[in-house]
Symmetry: C2
Subunit: 205 residues, 2 copies
Amino acid sequence: MSHYQQTDRRALYAVLDQALVAHLSIVRHGCPMALPVGFARDGDSILIHGSTGSAFFRDVAEGQEFCVNVTHLDGIMYARSLFDSSMRYRAAVIYGRASVVSAQKKEAALLKLAEHLMPQRQREIRPMTQKELAATMVLRIPLETASVKDNRASSPDEPNDDHSVWAGTLPLHVVAGEPETSSATQSGVAPPESVLTMKARFTTQ
Amino acid sequence: MSHYQQTDRRALYAVLDQALVAHLSIVRHGCPMALPVGFARDGDSILIHGSTGSAFFRDVAEGQEFCVNVTHLDGIMYARSLFDSSMRYRAAVIYGRASVVSAQKKEAALLKLAEHLMPQRQREIRPMTQKELAATMVLRIPLETASVKDNRASSPDEPNDDHSVWAGTLPLHVVAGEPETSSATQSGVAPPESVLTMKARFTTQ
């Protein structure tokens, strides 16, 4: 994947801003351990949140080194050999140490996170309680050591190929289906603006 | 995420068989390092491949402990509080050490991998060369220490909620777009069976 490394900050931000989930890896007792986590970019850092009861998050909070991966699988590239075939993807990797967001700044950070993961939703629902805030840890991860790779411009063609054999790419996209209303929602209550906005974002072009 | 842990082997296999990409984490020089990799399940193990020139893969091949994550983001669960909101997902985590597939078994393992990542494609293209085989390393990772979580049956409803507020889930799916023919493919050559089969697999229900 080393051919496509980019250091462009905007490219990094775009890969992060279009994703909802990252994989966060740490070293625990000498062994690698990784989990998927929801995240949001906030300026030149990313925010993640977890339970204060989670040993994994406490380890991250203690300033352990971590690795964060954000990957978009954009398609399957069919070359004319298995060797040259590959995936179309965009991938960001971030290395560093996290810091705990202070109690004073925690609510603002959680609202920032929520606005990325569920835009506009906070206007439709009750505010967070002090108990909920206390049970949640928010970590800030600087984007100091970060790289992004994007091979969308690459071609599966090789000069010596037999060009009578089809080569190309099957693009893959994430799309939203119809909102599923929960059974305890009063009848007649329609999916709100927040859900319709997110649905529109995940629509094929 | 601990509420949804399952030990059912079939559930683990289903999560793996429906995915193309995993995140593979190792410890390098005391720090976590993770990369996205294409993979396939082969019985009670998974196969990954990489370049023999990759320091990352050589470290994995040397029997270092690793963590493999395979995550499907299936939707966004809108509860009536930010605290209870979450993602709908299926996620597998595998811990262990990899072994290098021997030279004698390498080609069969690569064809197994290819059949998962690009079903039927190997019939349409030239065979691998000895040089290509020599440049590729295949690793087998046993599914001995593996767990799978699936929260698709969970609801965003809480007993004390105001049920006049909408709650529910926005489902997310991966879908394929129209195949993009590479510029060096002779005109008139249509996307082959392999690509059409994969396109049909990634179609919304």
